[in-house]
């Protein structure tokens, strides 16, 4: 009974739902959710953030893809970008949102989703761009009106996906940015508006630049011949390792261990990327972390969000790797852009809004067996050594200082 297929899950879902017709979202890894359709997140029990991640970074094997295509044959006309084929992912286009907005009723969530589909664009930046589009299409005539409108938009964005830390951080940052621009008071409204839009546009570039800065800063920590353990897929970590591979002559002699990153197997994709850079890579299954830890010189994580305590929220498995590394005295580094800093303070693992994600076990699970589908965990600051951010290399306790200075 080894069903390695997407259609199996589809069948099961169908079975469960009974009469409900299967929608393309009801099968799991192989499809990016058709986000632009609904104003509310249709599947509240599945984290939209992780759906996008899976669509962008997960490895989808060919048999999966084939079966998935077959299973959704009737839908295949409307999702051409199916199966993590990121080259074909629709690019939202620079001012696309604005023009659309004039045509039909503008929805910030649609806008956000169109930005979100770009694999290189961080979620926070997508949120910022969506909010910038709100400004662009806004018919407000006063700053106050605009602010209220923005507040509404950001609230709706935040409530649309409560699980995404970086979405929340992006919205908060942008709101801060609008409400705190004191220079605007001296200008007339239209020029202020255009300046806001201009600066929001810049933000996307900053986000790419932030990755470059982080990559440069972290080079001091990656020495020749070192062995790095990475977990899952992170764009920043990839950038860091790419830069290291470019800069260091002897970096080739070093190894990168890579965990598999179940259930969406983002680690596989990451190892593909590293192999392209000619970095020696070894792929581990997630459960082999402790076994390999003695060979590892450092652990490098990305982060979904950096929280006020200085800890990080990241893909499930991060915490246990950090724990193992801590107990073996290996340094744990985190590479994260500063727009992922969120004013959020989880006390323990359960103190977060749960982000769920479907898990494929390959075999049917009896209905009596409960499956833990949470997608992320919280790593407390005492298990982290340093954070590489675009603000500098910070100890975990400085995160809160930066946040206090930013938000208060």
């Amino acid at each position: 009974m080894w069903w390695r297929s997407a259609s199996f899950i589809l069948d099961r879902q169908q079975h469960q739902n009974g009469t409900v017709a299967p929608s393309p979202e009801s099968f799991l890894l192989s499809s990016p959710p058709p986000m632009a359709d609904s104003p509310l997140n249709p599947k509240s029990n599945i984290s939209a953030y992780y759906q996008t991640r899976a669509a962008h970074h997960a490895v989808v094997t060919s048999d999966w893809l084939a079966q998935a295509q077959a299973a959704v044959g009737r839908h295949s006309d409307d999702d051409g970008s199916l199966g993590g084929d990121k080259g074909a992912a629709p690019i939202g286009g620079g001012g696309g949102g604005g023009e659309e907005g004039s045509g039909k009723a503008f929805s910030v969530i649609d806008e956000f989703n169109s930005w979100r589909k770009q694999p290189t664009l961080a979620e926070a930046v997508a949120a910022i761009r969506a909010l910038a589009a709100v400004i662009r299409t806004s018919e407000a005539t006063t700053m106050m009106e605009l602010e209220i409108e923005l507040k509404k938009a950001s609230d709706s964005l935040k409530s649309w996906d409560t699980t995404s830390i970086s979405l929340r951080a992006g919205c908060d940052l942008f709101m801060l940015y609008v409400t705190r621009t004191s220079a605007l008071e001296y200008e007339d409204f239209n020029s202020a508006k255009s300046r806001l839009i201009e600066r929001a546009e810049k933000f996307g570039e900053i986000s790419c630049k932030a990755r470059r800065i982080i990559a440069m800063l972290s080079q001091d920590f990656i020495f020749d011949g070192c062995t790095i353990l990475v977990h899952g897929f992170s764009r920043v970590v990839l950038e860091v390792l790419k830069t290291a591979a470019e800069n260091k002559k002897h970096f080739r002699s070093s190894h990168c261990f890579n965990t598999e990153g179940r259930p969406d197997r983002t680690g596989l994709r990451f190892s593909n990327e590293l192999a392209k850079l000619d970095v020696p890579v070894k792929l581990l299954i997630d459960s082999a972390v402790a076994y390999t830890m003695d060979e590892v010189d450092m652990v490098l994580f990305g982060a979904d969000g950096v929280v006020e305590s200085g800890g990080i929220i990241n893909m499930m498995g991060t915490f246990q790797i950090a724990l193992v590394a801590h107990s073996m005295n290996k340094p744990v580094y985190v590479a994260a852009e500063s727009y992922k800093f969120a004013r959020h303070y989880p006390l323990d693992q359960k103190d977060m809004s749960p982000a769920r994600r479907p898990i494929d076990f390959g075999v049917p699970i009896p209905s009596k067996v409960e499956v833990e589908t949470l997608a992320r965990d919280y790593t407390p600051p005492q298990y982290l050594t340093l954070l590489f951010t675009d603000l500098g290399v910070l100890t975990p306790s400085v995160i809160s200082d930066e946040l206090i200075q930013l938000y208060l």
Partner: protein, 624 residues
């Protein structure tokens, strides 16, 4: 990230290793972040797993023999990754020259395993550097091996030494900087550093103190300003906190006694370690003071009344005491009239000071009261001279009201709002003693309809928890009451611990009712999150490591006798014996390791961020 409006637009270019190096902002370029080739080799020769951050400081940094050392060559070095056992957050900062000098005295092993580069560089090194090199090598021969707990990469000029220090040496020689914020203070505090480092040397470190992100128009300008307004030696002495009265200093105690309004008899048998704290025979002052109520000239009756209430214990709790004191001061200011040929500012300040010293005689001030008094005195000092007396008085009274409203009442509400988000259905909340804020939190959460259980932990002799329990039970909360003896048993069921605090100090230490530390430690051992609720006006920039040097002693009789139980009389007749010492402490200090979160009016912060609040909002609190 989007820099908020108050940020300089190219903020993200700040690539300095902020946490570790005291560098000024330097413009971002590839060169600044890659280590120069010589350094790189050494870095790679490290044993794997041991990471060293070396940050080149472009700031000119003259050593002691400044004339012989090229200023820009010195590099500041920081060790980031510490071995286990030492706190991982700790960052040591040291001066290049300091190490070179100390390297001679301390047992230091210098690994000069790169003779080639050392030789090639020899031509370039100056006299002073060569001398340092020789000294270090000599030291290396003498040094015992294998004691290395920490490696320090020291780039001094062009030559590179790998120096191993034992932990003690580091403690002695370096300036431990718990947090980079306190760089300047840290250097000041360390006597070892200040001996070696001349005042010229402290300047760059102060200037380099990573100026807060908030107000950097340009960081260089900011650092220049900071270097510029560095107080001269004399002023700095004035800034230093006034030494507290040490009650084991006989001559000073005698002097103080002559001035005192309250006649107190000192307790005879005082515990060895706590002789520096005041302790009096309880019950001796009160009748005496009551008879003086009408003949007391300098004291205002309202202040006198509050003092008596402190003495008898009718008013207790940080906020209550603070509000009572301010109400009394308000009364006093209302009735105040400037004597002829005196100015209001000076005379009123003196008057307030005399009130305060009276209150101290009744009961030592709490830290929150100290902060509040500082606020009031500042307001008086800042009064414009042009103001008439009645205007000045009404301004002050308004200020007092504002302080009570904004800093105490409003901030309590904000804390409640934040804390309630951390209470979930089905939680079991433990609290210790009777904190007014915690009580408000529990009641508010109950009003919101959350289902949770409360465990009130109490302790003898004050049994304040019973008061809290009474109020909670009346409102219909389901409560469990136990004494601190049973805290380890009850902790298994608990999901959150909420604690109040008398003060939070800038190293994150929570100064609170005695027993709090015990509860927090047990909670930590059981992995239960500890949330400390404290208004920001109670934060203090002092650092305290134990609860001995600053504390308050209660009535020793309270622990030797149990009220209402006559049969427990084992200590009868023994109390006045020479060899019996009774200790009834009022406060204790909880290390920040046991605190998961501090909830304050500025939100929920980790205890390590208390100094940020103190630094950023000091002005708002006291000098606004």
């Amino acid at each position: 990230m989007i820099p908020p409006a108050h940020h300089h637009s190219d903020n993200f270019l700040r690539t300095a290793l902020q946490a570790t190096s005291p560098t000024k902002a330097f413009s971002y370029s590839a060169k600044t972040v890659t280590i120069p080739p010589e350094n790189e080799d050494v870095a790679s020769s490290f044993s794997p797993g041991r990471k060293v951050v070396s940050a080149k400081s472009p700031s000119s940094f003259p050593g002691v023999k400044a004339s012989s050392v090229p200023a820009s060559e010195l590099t500041t070095v920081s060790v980031v990754n510490l071995p286990p056992g030492i706190s991982g957050k700790c960052v040591y900062k040291l001066k290049g020259k300091l190490i070179a000098e100390k390297a001679g005295g301390a047992s230091v092993e210098v690994q000069n395993d790169r003779p080639v580069s050392a030789k090639t560089l020899k031509e370039k090194t100056s006299k002073a550097e060569r001398r340092a090199l020789q000294e270090a090598q000599r030291a290396a021969k003498a040094a015992a091996k294998g004691l290395n707990l920490m490696s320090v990469l020291l780039t001094y000029g062009y030559s590179v030494y790998l120096v191993y220090f034992t932990f003690e040496q580091i403690l002695n020689n370096f300036v431990p900087v718990d947090h980079y914020v306190f760089l300047a203070e840290g250097t000041k505090a360390s006597s070892a550093a200040s001996k070696v480092v001349t005042s010229a040397n402290t300047k760059p470190s102060k200037a380099a103190k990573p100026s807060s992100q908030k107000n950097d128009g340009s960081q260089v300008a900011a650092s220049e300003k900071k270097g510029g307004d560095r107080a001269p030696e004399k002023d700095r002495k004035k800034d230093a906190p006034h030494p507290r009265m040490q009650y084991d200093d006989k001559s000073r105690v005698e002097k103080a006694k002559k001035r005192a309004v309250v006649k107190q008899t000192e307790a005879r048998n005082r515990v060895e370690l706590f002789r520096h704290l005041p302790q009096y025979e309880h019950g001796t002052q009160l009748p005496d003071l009551e008879t003086k109520f009408f003949e007391l000239d300098p004291m205002h009756p309202a202040v006198y009344k509050v003092g008596l209430q402190y003495l008898s214990g009718d008013i207790r709790g940080g906020n209550a005491r603070c509000i009572a004191m301010f109400q009394a001061f308000k009364e006093a200011i209302k009735d105040y009239s400037t004597p002829p040929e005196k100015t209001l500012i000076r005379d009123l300040t003196a008057r307030i000071s005399s009130y305060v010293s009276f209150l101290i005689e009744c009961r030592p001030l709490s830290i929150s009261m100290g902060n509040a008094i500082k606020f009031l005195k500042n307001r008086i000092a800042k009064l414009p001279l042009a103001l008439s007396e009645s205007e000045a008085k009404s301004t002050l009274m308004l200020d007092i009201d504002r302080f009570i409203n904004e800093k105490i009442i409003l901030s309590e509400k904000v804390i409640v709002k934040h804390a309630v988000t951390k209470i979930r259905d089905g939680d079991v909340l433990l609290t210790y003693g009777a904190s007014s804020v915690v009580e408000m939190i529990l009641l508010h959460a109950h009003e919101l309809g959350k289902h949770f259980r409360v465990v009130v932990v109490d302790s003898r002799p004050k049994l304040e928890g019973q008061l809290l329990l009474r109020r909670l039970v009346r409102k219909g909360l389901s409560c469990t009451y136990t004494h601190v003896n049973a805290v380890s048993c009850i902790m298994q069921d608990v999901t959150r611990v909420f604690l109040g605090a008398s003060s939070v100090l800038s190293n994150g230490t929570v100064y609170s009712r005695v027993g709090t530390a015990c509860v927090a430690m047990v909670a930590h051992a059981f992995r239960v999150p500890v949330l400390v609720c404290c208004e920001a006006y109670k934060f203090h920039e002092r650092v305290q490591l134990d609860s001995i040097c600053f504390n308050e002693l209660g009535n020793p009789d309270a622990i030797s006798k149990i009220q209402g139980r006559e049969e427990i009389n084992y200590l009868d007749g023994l109390v006045n014996q020479e060899n019996l010492q009774l200790l009834n402490l009022i406060y204790d200090a909880t290390p920040s390791d046991y605190v998961s979160m501090v909830i304050t009016d500025y939100g929920m912060i980790p205890p390590t961020s208390v100094p940020v609040i103190v630094r950023e909002y000091r002005r708002d609190h006291l000098w606004s």
